[in-house]
Symmetry: D3
Subunit: 68 residues, 6 copies
């Protein structure tokens, strides 16, 4: 499947914390940590595990810009 | 200002394309290109320019995970 | 690629309207029309065309519920 | 109340799972299951119950397009 | 229609700027200006006009918190 | 840090409810209550506490418009 989302950053899963319904998955992407909040169901369906290669996918309209 | 958004990735502005109301701003973040769709007004107010240091800011609930 | 987004609804592209930077793509999904706003660049990269099979993909945290 | 969100798909509530703060509500929309993550407070305020008619509401800018 | 979105702030439309596909609508909500980016189609369908009463509606998961 | 998000409404924290992974933070903004769903980690990192001044920050593309 190819998706329209402009941002698909490759990295490695470094942490998975499941909550009651929402999980937090952290990826190391070239040394930066990216945090994702997805459903527990998605974690299970994708079979996510620490150490695995994965992508952080973000739609362009969900990216803000900040300056110092 | 400190913001709750979990993802604040530092990079350099490499392209700014203004549309009628929506601009696309691209950042080079450690060699990966991140695309952001923000208002033209925001581009002007922040004084964004190619070559400038900036951050891509994304709320954790807007980050999806994908696997091959 | 498998993605964490819980909602991946299969349909057929019925309309593509490009703006200055943002395109509107409409899918017919079992008789309902779903409207998506994505970048012109994504329309081109996916090679989207009217009549084509495609999926509307939505993260669960972007779905609201309403009642009459 | 009429809302600007382009996508308002009618269906039936088939599952409600409450977490600590976030609930997952599933709708059957013409045979497809749509998953929504909303607050527990919203579930209570709308009086959502399995079997009830309801709408999945999604802003066009939150819909991505994918192709096989 | 009642919607799950936790934030429904009443105000008055003070500006509408249409782009090629995306419009910017500004509301005065108790003296604060709130900016919304919606489709031109939504502006037309709701019959939005400057001076009109309207609500800014935001899902709780789209609200970030910042401190000085 | 200055951020592109068009909406930065100043108010006072009136409630913080932590869940398993997701917290709900409520701000009183000129008499209106705004609800935010952010990570527990963000609540801790910002040191949020009831009574504190804070901003609700929302990207324009996440604001819908509704009329009666």
């Amino acid at each position: 499947m190819k998706i329209s989302a402009r941002n698909q950053l490759r990295g490695k899963v470094v942490e998975i914390v499941k909550g009651a319904t929402t999980a937090h998955v952290r990826l190391d992407i070239g040394g930066s940590i990216v945090t994702s909040a997805i459903t527990n169901a998605a974690v299970e369906e994708l079979g996510l595990a620490v150490g695995q290669q994965a992508y952080a996918v973000v739609k362009a309209s969900d990216v803000m810009i900040a300056v110092d």
